[in-house]
C-alpha cells in the first residue's frame, strides 16, 4: 500500500476544461470519494490516476513515485470498472490470475492467491465458471478480486455499484468498505451517489464542472459547506437569494426578513438553511408562516411553508398522534423557528444551480 498525491492535476480538451485543477492527498489506507454530478470531471480524474488519460498539467505520485508519464501497466493501480470489464473468454479463475501472471508470480503461489482472493469475495468454488454464467453481483465481486489479488499500491473504483439493484448496492457498499478497511487499501472511489460517498468514504471531494468545490469528511461537508453548490448537493437545503439587511438579519428575495448567523456576507451570497433545522409550531415564538403543503413520509413529514412571499421547506420527525401539529393542513397558520447559527451565508459561484428547496 502507499499514498496517492495529485498535484495541480488538470485535463483540457481543446478549449473545454474537463478537470481544472485537483490537489489531493490520499493517506495510506484511506478511502477518498470523488463525488459530483455527471460531467464534473471525477471520472477523468480517476482515469488520469490510472494512466488512461494523459494530464494536461500537474503530477500524479503513487507511493512517492512520480507516475505522471508512466504507462497504465506500469502504475501498480488496481481498478474496478463500472462495467466490470471482465475478460469474457477467460474463466473466473483465469480472470483473477491475470494480474499475477503479468507479475510473473509462480503457478503454485498464483493458485493459492487466486483461491484466497475468491474466498475473500465469497466466490470460492466458482473459479471454473465463465463471467457470463454469473449474476451481476457475482461479476462485480470477480472484478474486485481481480483488482485486489495483485496487492495494488492504489485501489481505484469507478462507480462500481451503479449496475447493481438497490438492495444489493447497500450490501456491496458495506462489503467493499469492510474489505478496504481490513486490507488497509489506499482507495480512490468515484460516485455520483452522495449516500454511497457519505457512508463509505473517510473523506469526500465534491467536484462540479471540473472544479474541486470542497474536500472534507461527511460531517464537515454537511455542517460547514464551503459554498451553495456543496450545500445543495450534499443533502437537502433551503438556498435563498437575497441580501444582508443588518448583521444577523437577511432579507430574502421573496420579501421575508430572516435571522441568520452573524458575520459579513460574501458577494453573491445565498442563505443556506437545512430543512430539518427548521422547527414548526402551531403557536408560540417565531416567524409567522402559512402552510402550502404537508407531505407525510412515515418517519418524517415535510412542511412546505410560505413566509410572507419567501418559500421555505421544513422537515420534522412526524409528530405523535395526539400532537396538534399532526392535524396541520395546507392553509393553516404556523410559526417557524431556527437557531440563527444554522442559517449560513454562503458564496454562490456564477452558474451554480441555486433553487429553493420548497
Amino acid at each position: 500500500m502507499g499514498t496517492l498525491v495529485l498535484e495541480g492535476l488538470a485535463r483540457r480538451y481543446g478549449a473545454t476544461v474537463a478537470v481544472e485543477r485537483v490537489d489531493l492527498d490520499v493517506q495510506d489506507g484511506e478511502l477518498v470519494a470523488l463525488l459530483g454530478p455527471s460531467g464534473c470531471g471525477k471520472t477523468t480524474t480517476l482515469r488520469m490516476v490510472a494512466g488512461f488519460v494523459p494530464p494536461s498539467a500537474g503530477r500524479v505520485l503513487i507511493g512517492g513515485r512520480d507516475v505522471t508519464r508512466a504507462a497504465p501497466h506500469g502504475r501498480d493501480t488496481g481498478m474496478v470498472f463500472q462495467s466490470y470489464a471482465l475478460f469474457p473468454h477467460m474463466s473466473v479463475g483465469q480472470n483473477v490470475a491475470f494480474g499475477l501472471e503479468m507479475r510473473k508470480v509462480g503457478r503454485a503461489e498464483r493458485e493459492r492467491r487466486v483461491t484466497e482472493a475468491l474466498r475473500l469475495v465469497r466466490l470460492e468454488g466458482l473459479a471454473d465458471r465463465l463471467p457470463r454464467q454469473l449474476s451481476g453481483g457475482q461479476q462485480q465481486r470477480v472484478a474486485l478480486a481481480r483488482a485486489l489479488v495483485v496487492n495494488p499500491a492504489v485501489f481505484l473504483l469507478d462507480e462500481p455499484l451503479s449496475n447493481l439493484d438497490a438492495k444489493l448496492r447497500a450490501e456491496v457498499r458495506f462489503e467493499i468498505r469492510a474489505l478496504q478497511q481490513r486490507l488497509g487499501l489506499t482507495t480512490l472511489f468515484v460516485t455520483h451517489d452522495q449516500e454511497e460517498a457519505l457512508t463509505m468514504a473517510d473523506r469526500l471531494v465534491v467536484m462540479d464542472r471540473g472544479r474541486v468545490r470542497q474536500i472534507g469528511n461527511a460531517e464537515a461537508l454537511y455542517e460547514r459547506p464551503a459554498d451553495a453548490f456543496v450545500a445543495g448537493f450534499i443533502g437537502r437545503c433551503n438556498l435563498l437569494r437575497g441580501a444582508l439587511e443588518s448583521p444577523g438579519r437577511f432579507r430574502a428575495a421573496g420579501g421575508a426578513t430572516l435571522p441568520c448567523a452573524p458575520g459579513a456576507a460574501p458577494a453573491d451570497s445565498v442563505l443556506a438553511l437545512r430543512p430539518e433545522r427548521v422547527s414548526v409550531e402551531t403557536r408560540g415564538e417565531g416567524l409567522p408562516a402559512r402552510l402550502l403543503a404537508v407531505t407525510y413520509l412515515g418517519a418524517q413529514t415535510e412542511y412546505h411553508l410560505d413566509l410572507g412571499g419567501t418559500k421555505l421547506l421544513a422537515i420534522r420527525a412526524t409528530p405523535a398522534e395526539d400532537d396538534p401539529r399532526r392535524a396541520l393542513a395546507p392553509g393553516d397558520a404556523v410559526t417557524v423557528h431556527w437557531s440563527p447559527a444554522e442559517a449560513r451565508l454562503l458564496p454562490a459561484l456564477p452558474g451554480d444551480l441555486v433553487e429553493e428547496a420548497a
Partner: protein, 276 residues
C-alpha cells in the same frame, strides 16, 4: 414469419440451386468434338480434372494464391481494422468510405491501373530507371506477385470491415483492464484483443478466401496467359474449348475444394476460440 423468407428462398432456388443442379448434370455428360455434348452418366470428367497434372497444378496455384492473399489481407487488415474500430473522430465515416473506395472501381479498370503501374514501361520501372537505380526494367507484371498484389487490393476492404465490426464490439474497458493489471500493449493484444476478435478473423478469412479462390479478372489481366487459376480455366473450357461437361466438372472441383478448406479452417478457428 415463414412467409417473410419465401421470396428470398424462391430467389435462391431459381438463381442458385437450379443452375447448380443443371451444371452438375452437365458435368456427368460426355464431350464430343462434333456434337459438343452427349448425354451420359459418367464420372470421367471428374477423374480427368483430378488426375491431369496440368489441372492439379492449376488447382495448387489457385489454393496457394488464395491462401497467400488471405494471410496478407489478414496481417495488413487487422491493424487497419483496429484503428478504424477504435476511431472516435467525426472522420470515421470518411475513413469507412475510403476503405470501401477500391470496390467502387470495377475489377478490369483496377487491373488496368496495376498494369500501367507494373508493366515493362510502367510507372515503377520508369521511375527506378529514371533515378538510375536499375538498368533494365524489372519483370513485375505477369508474375504471381502481381496477381497476389492485385487480389489483396480487392479483398482487403472485405477483411477490414468484417474485422472492424467485431473489434468494435470488444469493450475498450476490457483492454484497459488488461493494461491496468500489468499487461503491456502487445501482451494485452495477444491475451485479450486477439482471442476476442477470433470470430471476426474466421469470418473475414472465410469471406476473403472464397473471393480469392474464385478470382477471375485479376489473374487473367495481371498474371498473363501463362498464369492459370481455376476460374479462368473453367471459363476457357466453356467458351474457348466449348467442352461444357469438363468445364462443369472443373467448376465443381473448385466448389468442393473451396468449401472443404473453408469449413476446415473455420472449424479450426472455432476450436481455438473456445479454448481461449
Amino acid at each position: 414469419m415463414a412467409a417473410l423468407v419465401l421470396p428470398a428462398a424462391l430467389l435462391v432456388l431459381v438463381l442458385l440451386v437450379a443452375p447448380m443442379a443443371m451444371l452438375f448434370r452437365i458435368s456427368l455428360n460426355q464431350y464430343s468434338p462434333t456434337e459438343l455434348m452427349i448425354e451420359a452418366l459418367s464420372p470421367e470428367n471428374y477423374l480427368r480434372a483430378i488426375a491431369d497434372p496440368y489441372y492439379q497444378d492449376v488447382l495448387a496455384t489457385t489454393m496457394g494464391v488464395a491462401l497467400s492473399c488471405t494471410l496478407i489481407a489478414l496481417l495488413l487488415g487487422f491493424p487497419a481494422a483496429y484503428w478504424l474500430a477504435r476511431m472516435e473522430s467525426r472522420w470515421k465515416s470518411l475513413a469507412v468510405i475510403l476503405t470501401l473506395f477500391p470496390l467502387l472501381v470495377g475489377n478490369v479498370v483496377r487491373a488496368a491501373g496495376w498494369m500501367a503501374l507494373l508493366g515493362r514501361d510502367g510507372a515503377i520501372n520508369a521511375g527506378l530507371m529514371g533515378l538510375g537505380l536499375i538498368a533494365e526494367p524489372l519483370t513485375l507484371l505477369y508474375t504471381r506477385g502481381a496477381v497476389i498484389l492485385g487480389i489483396v487490393a480487392v479483398v482487403a476492404p472485405y477483411m477490414i470491415l468484417t474485422l472492424a465490426s467485431v473489434i468494435e464490439a470488444i469493450p475498450r474497458q476490457v483492454e484497459e483492464a488488461a493494461a491496468n493489471l500489468g499487461a503491456g500493449p502487445l501482451t494485452g493484444f495477444r491475451r485479450v484483443v486477439l482471442p476476442l476478435a477470433l470470430p471476426g478473423v474466421a469470418a473475414g478469412s472465410v469471406l476473403v478466401f472464397i473471393l480469392c479462390m474464385n478470382a477471375y479478372a485479376t489473374p487473367v489481366l495481371l498474371g498473363g496467359p501463362q498464369f492459370k487459376m481455376m476460374a479462368p480455366a473453367v471459363y476457357d473450357q466453356f467458351v474457348k474449348g466449348t467442352n461444357w461437361p469438363f468445364g462443369a466438372a472443373l467448376a465443381f472441383v473448385l466448389l468442393v475444394v473451396t468449401l472443404t478448406l473453408t469449413i476446415a479452417g473455420s472449424a479450426l478457428l472455432a476450436r481455438r476460440s473456445r479454448r481461449g
